[in-house]
Symmetry: C2
Subunit: 233 residues, 2 copies
DNA sequence: GTTATACCATGATTTAAATCATATAAGCGG
DNA sequence: CCGCTTATATGATTTAAATCATGGTATAAC
């Protein structure tokens, strides 16, 4: 096989790996080392990458597309933990504890991911402590946000939860949010109808504009006021 | 100061540090190095160790007593994220991101803690990668549990949430739980009255026995059945 | 181009849990 | 030992959000 061809393939994976926060400080040789370990996989929109409860044998990075992590209640109701875009790691909670994946991961759009065998990844980590520190940073951020959402679910009304969900999504993705009302409802822990009513009020108030399956936030400051809870006069 | 006296003091701190999961693999010299860095502080029951939003300058380990991490809703309602007992680290979410503490920490009982300056701790981490891997393990476990609770809050009824809260506490502390109905309610995201009604039903059903401020779980299997959600006939 | 499905929308009704009210008992502090 | 505070308990009422029902439109699939 022509060397040029191999290098191109490796260069593609290395480029994605380099964009990932936890690896962005690595040198060229280390990036290629990881690229050698990484397998690329493709999934159609709607396909599951792994299921909650599966054995955690692979560590994942999104190369292209969008992935959501989700759990189900005892009655089958879907709850969306997070969305992941290009260069983001996912499935990481299970991997370091050697316990089953705590959530399922599903491709929202047609998606390509890089997968690294856990044993290979842990070996790599052992000799690259700066990557471990980056992972601590990522996990800390995710734990901070999870705690914030827990507090919201325990003690805030549904419209605050919805407003905060929109703000969190826009801080991550920008003002254009590619989500249906049902997906927004599943992240905020409410029903589709409740999310529809709330979003309609935002449209009427000039806070958002939306077309089917996509929401554009026009007035983030008003949304922030809504997220702060009932006004205390 | 007599050397024997210094060693006794160091040995006390080193002993606590050694019991902490993240440090349990360290050698004697490393434990003493950390003990040198650690400051001991005492708090009376009810005192706050730090507040949500404070700058994250210290990393903490419980030496003796019990600490709770808590947040407040926009209406001031208290939500308990977790309890920490001897040898457990806390305040760690903020420290690795250099962002404010996301929750307050309060001594539940009279409590002694060890505090390490963040800059000293990060230096220590940089040269002890096995500690970083342990921290990843701890953060992963906490994130897994936070995601599970998020799913519960979003989609389960209050009695499932209460039953799961009791099961989670007992898996950590054993069958005797030193919590009031209000503390259990604050962890499960409900009101004190709702928790009281639920616990009274458990008493009537022979599942628990309780005395003021303390609950003993008698039948964990029945509690598990209750936690599984409404029976689907 | 047509049909089916998914998404958005609105209204009416139900319900789980919160809220409010009140009472009793246990434990702590002086 | 007494008084006060906190914790547990029960009942009635309210309410926020879920549920159910129905309809319209846009988009995708055939």
């Amino acid at each position: 096989m022509a060397k040029g061809y191999i290098d191109l393939q490796h260069n593609g994976k290395a480029e994605i790996i380099k964009q990932s926060f936890i690896f962005s400080g690595l040198g060229r040789d280390e990036l290629f080392e990881l690229a050698n370990l990484a397998i690329e996989r493709s999934f159609r929109a709607g396909e599951f990458i792994f299921w909650e409860g599966d054995a955690p044998d692979l560590f994942y990075i999104v190369a292209e597309g969008q992935v959501k992590a989700l759990k189900h209640s005892s009655s089958g109701k879907e709850f969306i933990i997070a969305f992941f875009g290009p260069a983001e790691i996912f499935g990481e909670v299970a991997v370091f504890e050697n316990k089953p994946y705590p959530a399922s991961s599903q491709a929202v759009t047609d998606t390509r991911v890089l997968a690294i065998e856990v044993k290979d990844f842990l070996s790599f980590l052992a000799s690259h402590p700066q990557v471990a520190l980056r992972i601590i940073n990522i996990l800390g951020g995710r734990l901070r946000e999870a705690q914030s959402r827990l507090r919201d679910f325990a003690g805030e009304r549904v419209e605050q939860r919805l407003a905060r969900t929109l703000l969190m999504l826009s801080s991550k993705l920008g003002p254009t949010l590619p989500f249906t009302r049902q997906e927004i409802a599943d992240m905020a822990g409410t029903t589709t109808e409740t999310a529809i009513r709330f979003m309609s009020r935002l449209k009427d108030g000039g806070i958002i504009r939306s077309v089917r399956g996509k929401t554009i936030i026009l007035d983030e400051n008003k949304l922030k006021l809504l997220s702060e809870g009932p006004s205390q006069v």
